[in-house]
């Protein structure tokens, strides 16, 4: 079974994958917003999603390390990695202390901060065009980019809030 979804928030995305698994559908691969599922026992796997630390990509190194640590790497999409472990092997969390959790949220925040700037530049560029040649299609594009900008901004703010929460716990 395939499902199309647009997730920007990896916490929400993880929650959804685990919920799907509870309902007997095990996520197995991802490409361009299409999630592929296979039937499974209810709650057979625990899913986690992570963002690689480098833009140039330490994909292979990361995947090999995870496989050697008993984690199944399902899909790597750009800097994002989808992983799972059998629930029978016990709890599965990527990060076991606040310091490394903070680092993860900082990585995600920085990632979205960069794409946010790129989107804002696109937005201004489109806005310039639409002023000179106001067509419905161009206005549609401007609105769409505007929505994406707000979504990215929300993630950046959420990551900042999460980091603050984790710092307060220390």
């Amino acid at each position: 079974m395939n499902k199309f979804r647009l997730y920007f928030d990896k916490d929400e995305e993880t929650k959804w994958l685990n919920l799907m698994c509870m309902n007997g559908w095990a996520f197995t691969s991802f490409c361009l917003g299409v999630y592929h599922f296979e039937p499974c026992e209810s709650g057979e796997y625990i899913y986690q999603i992570d963002l690689l630390s480098s833009w140039s990509g330490n994909k292979k190194d990361f995947a090999v390390f995870m496989e050697e640590s008993g984690v199944e790497v399902l899909s790597q999409w750009y800097r994002w990695v989808f992983m799972r472990k059998r629930a029978s092997e016990g709890p599965f969390e990527m990060y076991s202390d606040n310091e490394s959790k903070i680092k993860q949220y900082a990585r995600i925040r920085n990632f979205f901060a960069v794409v946010l700037v790129v989107e804002i530049l696109c937005f201004l560029d489109e806005l310039y065009f639409v002023m000179r040649m106001p067509t419905l299609a161009l206005w549609g594009l401007v609105v769409l980019i505007g929505i994406i900008i707000l979504a990215f901004l929300q993630i950046v703010l959420k990551c900042r809030w999460k980091i603050q929460q984790l710092r307060n716990e220390e």
Binding site: D50, S53, F62, V64, F65, M66, E68, S69, G70, V71, G90, P91, E93, M94, Y95, S96, D97, E99, S100, K103, Q104
Partner: protein
């Protein structure tokens, strides 16, 4: 060296687990056993810690044969041992001072 101490709990136990050559899965299992199941290292936490300790040369790759399909093994270096000893010394001081007030 002083700014490296105190070590985080994760770093402390990873250094302890690589006194003999050990791979990712082995480190997680050993730390779990040593702490009676209390500390289960997240694989992401372990990955970050290993990369950071590799770049500081506290640990090194052990396996001689890089072409083999054997799992990557890590081992503590002399620098790593010094850092670890400094931390143990600090912890001993804590415990000894605590004991003075126990009675």
């Amino acid at each position: 060296m002083d700014k490296n101490v105190p070590l985080t709990e994760a770093l402390f136990y990873i250094l302890l687990a690589v006194r003999k050559p050990n791979h990712g899965y082995g480190i997680i299992q050993d730390v779990r056993e040593m702490t009676g199941g209390r500390l289960i290292l997240g694989p992401g936490t372990l990955y970050g810690a290993i990369n950071s300790m590799m770049s500081k040369r506290w640990i090194k790759l052990y396996s001689e044969d890089k072409e083999s399909r054997k799992k990557k093994e890590y081992q503590i270096t002399d620098t790593g041992r010094d850092i670890f000893e400094a931390e143990v010394k600090r912890l001993k001081e804590l415990v000894e001072n605590a004991k003075l007030y126990e009675a």
